[in-house]
Amino acid sequence: MTHQRLQTGSILDGFTIGEKIHSGGMATLWRVTKPGVDVPIVMKVPTILDGDDATIIVGFEMEMMILPRLSGVHVPKYYAVGDFARQPYLVMEYIQGQSLFSFIDRAPLPPDEIVALGAKVATALVDLHRQNVLHLDIKPSNIMLRESGEAALIDFGLSRHLFLPDLLEEEFRVPMGTGPYIAPEQIFKNRSDPRSDIYSLGVLLYYLATNVRPFGVPQAQSSLKNRLWRDPVPPRRLNPEIPPALQEVILRCLEVDPEQRYATPAQLAFDLANMSQVPLTERATRMERNSYFDAWKRWFASLGAQGGPQQPRATQNNLAPIIMVAVDLSVEMEPLWEELRANVKRVLATMPGVRIACVNVLKLNRLTINYALDESGRNVHVQRLVELKEWARPLGLSQERITFHVIEHMDPAVALVDYAKMNHVDQVLIGARASSTLRRFLGSTSSQVVAEAPCTVTVVRAPITSGAVEMAADAETARADSP
């Protein structure tokens, strides 16, 4: 490989090299400009040493493969790639904002801020995983907070695209990742589990909450494995300010067995956005680590465990979706309730990992002041919540699988669509009233949700009997006959 020497002022493929802004072991970053590109961009050039370090080269190849295939606000926008035969480089958007690394200095952060940051990073992971890419090196320095507020993930050198060859598979003499953040299955060289990113995010949240890394900074490969048998000190023991629900979320992310973690970043984001409804388990109140004896038993049980490359897990959202059920509690919708529950049951039967979010909109009247109490003096919001839970009771779901939300809004359709967007909902179930000419003319809540929701929408109708069809036809005819 022959590489020209880059310096400020030189020109490469139409890019004028500006200031050098970072020089590290893996890569150098230069600000660059190009006529026609009016946003700040940077050129990332791999540091290729005389020894021809394969990991750096392959990591850079991986990023060259993955970054051009990504889009959206949660990754840097891609501009150009330079050929390995001449001068390898990547040109991408320079993300203006703050590295999450700078937040570490302020740790422990207030719980609300940790929850908000966690939700932003989880949301970025939702978007990345939906593009079939796992980051596999989630840590503070690889997360930027844009000025507009969204988290953006950077550095895809250890990432994996589930439908493309894993070029890093061959570099598997050592586990790849960052010691304090690496997930247990990555230590066993599995690079295909989306829940590895959830684990690393759990490490990050723990660190922000306690100012301590849950497994320290492992210096040797053998000490990486300590996290397999010894649980971290519960965060509330280090920082009593942390609410039990946040400890629950963090420790669930840090489960050794991926099956025990959140199934998807969407489910994690959902809990972080709805902290009051996080189902609390023993994790929430734990104050002690597991004992040395327990750690020894786990160590003993793990002997002989096999690692190595695995076939990619199927796109996780097919297995563990978030389904939102829009429940209209008004009396005229009552005939539909059973039908709506029947549809929920069908979903539950086929997808064991599904989470159900029951949503009801308390419609506000734009002409009167917001009212909290009804004519008999009951709290309307609480009353609705009780009715919503009553509606769901026949489903017989445990609290980890179902949540309830009453949203106050003037426009039910807008409220439902916003909720679906904010919570990464995969599918909406919504009841529709029997069709009528008037409703067809004015438009209905369900049709507006169908038109605007960011996901699949299933419209549930009560089965129409032949008698009802005839009656409707008669009514239409009568209307047509009238002058």
């Binding site: 080269i57 439908f163 060859p165």
Partner: protein, 247 residues
């Protein structure tokens, strides 16, 4: 340019037509046939005519071991049912078609690519690429960046850095795969006419020379019709049965 690579058609008219229509809808503007046009299937004449027609419009075609055997009537080294089908195929083809098959080249080199039926190190010995070792032998024998071959009826993609052994990637779906210029690639096609990777769908690939991306395609076709013709021609029944299960 978008090149469709079709290998191991094996006289399967329905699978060939389905793949050609599929490739046309995906704007393939060049066809390359990677050998084994005939053998096993009941439509050798149709397939040969169709390929000759395509070649008149610029398509490329190379020789497969079944084409060679059918052209010369020599079936040494073949198993019983392959031999039965080839003897039948030999009788079906006229002298002109046999001469066409016999004259097909062993390999074609084009830009940074080489096209061959079995593998690149010794095309005449018809060796199979079944693992990293056989892939490495082929990859090291050529300076071309990408080798396209068929012969084993199982889609596989090997990639290799200069100083390292190759790695196998088993294609998942049709996501276009960038064939990074820093490595050499060996794209083993699945079979159009007789898939053996436990997936009965016809297999072919499209390579885009502008984007340097390869996509593995799978196409459904009327297997019942193909099987009925194999029965009607009194060819060994296993040749029909295996199509339904892709083995």
């Amino acid at each position: 340019m978008r090149i469709a690579f079709l290998s191991d058609i094996h006289g399967n008219r329905e699978a060939l037509d389905a793949c050609l229509a599929h490739a046309e809808r995906r704007k393939a503007d060049r066809l390359v046939f990677l050998g084994d046009l005939v053998g096993y299937g009941a439509d050798p004449v149709y397939v040969v005519d169709k390929v000759r027609e395509a070649m008149a419009k610029g398509a490329l075609s190379i020789l497969g071991n079944h084409d060679e055997a059918a052209a010369r009537g020599v079936t040494t080294g073949m198993n019983d049912y392959a031999r039965a089908a080839l003897e039948w195929t030999f009788r079906e083809l006229d002298a002109d078609s046999r001469r066409f098959l016999a004259d097909l080249p062993m390999k074609i080199e084009e830009d940074d690519r080489i096209y061959v039926h079995s593998e690149a190190s010794a095309p005449l010995s018809w060796a199979y690429i079944t693992d990293v070792a056989t892939a490495e032998r082929s990859l090291r024998s050529t300076n071309h960046r990408i080798t396209f071959c068929g012969h084993v009826h199982k889609p596989q993609l090997y990639h290799m850095q200069p100083q390292r052994p190759p790695l196998l990637f088993v294609p998942q779906g049709s996501t276009p795969i960038p064939l990074m210029a820093s490595r050499k690639w060996l794209a083993v096609q699945g079979a159009v006419g007789q898939p053996r990777d436990h997936n009965p769908l016809a297999a072919y690939t499209i390579y885009d020379t502008d984007t340097n991306e390869l996509s593995f395609q799978r196409v459904s076709y009327d297997i019942d019709a193909t099987a009925q013709k194999i029965h009607a021609a009194n060819l060994p029944q296993i040749l029909a049965a295996r199509l339904f299960i892709g083995r």
